[in-house]
């Protein structure tokens, strides 16, 4: 098998500046407080994911899951260590990040699709399928800011699952829309996985993760605690915090 995500000894910290203006800095200095705070999100973490694997990243808030996902997607760069990927990475770091409220549903499908890496030809071919999946046909020419939150999420999700990435990253979006739509999303994600795509999912909804992921990685304050079967990771997560 071939590794498609290779994370080697990665650390990532953030420096939080308390004040940026001269005035704020002067106040902090005179009070003898430090100008910056640092926060280590990921400590020396290594992870290797093979093609076609389905990995659930688990952990409490602030454990570094989302940071890890951002490192894999290339939005952030590690302070030390290396992150390398094979093939096209796409996914939803947050639902609707690429949607523009002043554009219509139709315009957003094209813009968001292109942002997520789809070509013009691909978009034209998939357009009807995206519209069908999102169930918003009648609002296609309406500006997205007038959409209900459910419609907004459905549109965003629908575009995302029609991209053609080798590695699909999903952050906390399986709780989209109503019951039937959630089932449809899950089915679609399982389909993507069955096609041999690699899946990395972050979610607090353990039941949902259990439906799509086979492998579980548990993070705690930026350290990898468990890397094994999903059941093992879930069990550990539940016992540690009960």
């Amino acid at each position: 098998m071939t590794a498609v995500i290779q994370v080697d000894h990665v650390s990532k910290g953030f420096v939080l500046r308390r004040g940026r203006s001269l005035k704020e800095m002067a106040v902090l200095v005179t009070k003898g407080r430090p100008l910056t705070d640092s926060f280590q999100a990921i400590h020396d973490l290594s992870l290797s994911v093979e093609q076609g694997e389905t990995v659930g990243l688990l952990g409490l808030n602030g454990s570094g899951k989302s940071t890890l996902l951002k490192l894999i997607s290339g939005v952030m760069r590690p302070d030390s260590g290396t992150v390398r990927v094979r093939g096209h990475v796409a996914g939803l770091i947050e639902v609707g990040a690429g949607l523009h409220p002043d554009l219509t549903g139709r315009e957003n499908i094209f813009l968001n699709g292109a942002i997520l890496g789809m070509s013009e030809v691909e978009l034209r071919r998939q357009f009807d399928s995206i519209v069908d999946f999102s169930e918003i046909e009648t609002f296609l020419e309406t500006e997205v800011k007038f959409y209900s939150s459910g419609m907004f999420l459905r549109l965003a999700f629908s575009v995302a699952v029609h991209t053609d990435p080798d590695i699909f990253l999903v952050d906390e979006i399986l709780s989209v829309g109503d019951g039937p739509f959630q089932d449809k999303c899950l089915a679609r994600i399982q389909e993507l996985s069955a096609e041999g795509r690699t899946l990395v999912v972050v979610s607090h909804d353990l039941d949902t993760v259990a439906k799509v992921c086979a492998r579980g990685v548990l993070l705690e304050t930026g350290h990898k605690i468990v890397d094994g079967s999903l059941e093992k990771a879930i069990t550990r997560l539940r016992t540690a915090h009960r």
């Binding site: 093609q51 990040a97 523009h100 795509r197």
Partner: protein, 293 residues
């Protein structure tokens, strides 16, 4: 089963800069279209605003400088001279102001999804160029009206002048867009530069006035080292000079810097070097965009 993904592991989020923008022309086109749509959203005049604003500015300057300060008399076809440099500076100002804010304005996207970030400043420059086009058409018609006829080098001068500004502003835009992510002070720096820049080139006043008043030769060379000065003069060479004959006291050729084409090519090379510097600075600073925004 899916075909195996391409061989070789690569680091995500390390693009080829402007080359990636070129490879993603479709996305660039959509972002430009979005900018235009959003800019003129719910506006009755829409794109017509891009005529109204320079039109009003032009009338104000024309009366203040041409009529009240009597530049009309010292310079043949002063209106065409004024408008030639003016449209180019407008292009620079719009592109520079918007490009330097482009990354911050698209923070939501930059933080969540990786895409070549150069797309944003380039798209704003593109939009400014779209706004320039109708102004150049108006300028051309105005020039025809006062006796402009096709002559050597007019179109070449126009193309060279545009190229200098486009390359220059892309380079500066990349640099300031990246710096602005770290310190928003740079937005104010840009605004300040734009206030000064209008007066640093022979646009609102004729070049001969500068030559007379400037004194030492090195100061004159410094004035001429400004690529915008050269670009504005190239536009005046293109649209004003062929229609102007001048009088014995104020011959038209006195108003155009000698060797304007050579200087134009030097300015273009200088702008290209700035573009490379801008790209290098952008790539260096880009790594922490997502966490700084």
């Amino acid at each position: 089963m899916r075909a195996a993904p391409p061989l070789g592991l690569v680091e995500p989020g390390r693009g080829a800069g402007l080359l990636d923008v070129f490879r993603q022309r479709y996305l660039l086109r959509l972002i430009v279209r979005q900018e235009m749509r959003v800019r003129y959203h719910r506006s009755v005049l829409g794109l017509l605003w891009s005529y109204v604003k320079p039109g009003v500015q032009f009338v104000v300057y024309f009366f203040a400088l041409g009529v009240f300060l009597k530049l009309n008399r010292s310079l043949e076809d002063f209106s065409v001279y004024l408008f030639s440099g003016f449209v180019l500076l407008n292009f620079f100002s719009e592109a520079f102001a918007n490009a330097s804010r482009s990354i911050v304005r698209n923070a939501a996207l930059v933080k969540k999804i990786y895409l070549p970030r150069e797309l944003f400043p380039v798209a704003t420059t593109y939009v400014a160029a779209i706004h320039l086009l109708p102004q150049v058409v108006v300028l051309f018609l105005g020039a025809l009206l006062v006796g402009w006829r096709p002559s050597d080098g007019a179109f070449a001068a126009a193309a060279l002048g545009f190229a200098v500004v486009a390359v220059l502003v892309t380079g500066l835009g990349l640099m300031l867009a990246a710096l602005n992510v770290y310190y928003r002070d740079f937005e104010n720096v840009v605004d300040l530069v734009l206030v000064v820049v209008v007066w640093l080139s022979p646009v609102l006043y004729p070049w001969s006035f500068v030559k007379e008043a400037i004194g030492p030769a090195w100061l004159e060379q410094l004035y001429l080292a400004n690529p915008l000065t050269i670009a504005a003069q190239l536009f005046q060479r293109a649209f004003w000079y062929p229609g102007a004959i001048g009088t014995p006291e104020a011959p038209a050729f006195e108003e155009i810097i000698p060797d304007i084409f050579t200087r134009g090519i030097v300015a273009l090379l200088g702008s290209l070097i700035l573009l490379v510097i801008g790209q290098v600075a952008f790539s260096r600073l880009e790594g922490r965009f997502a966490q700084e925004l």
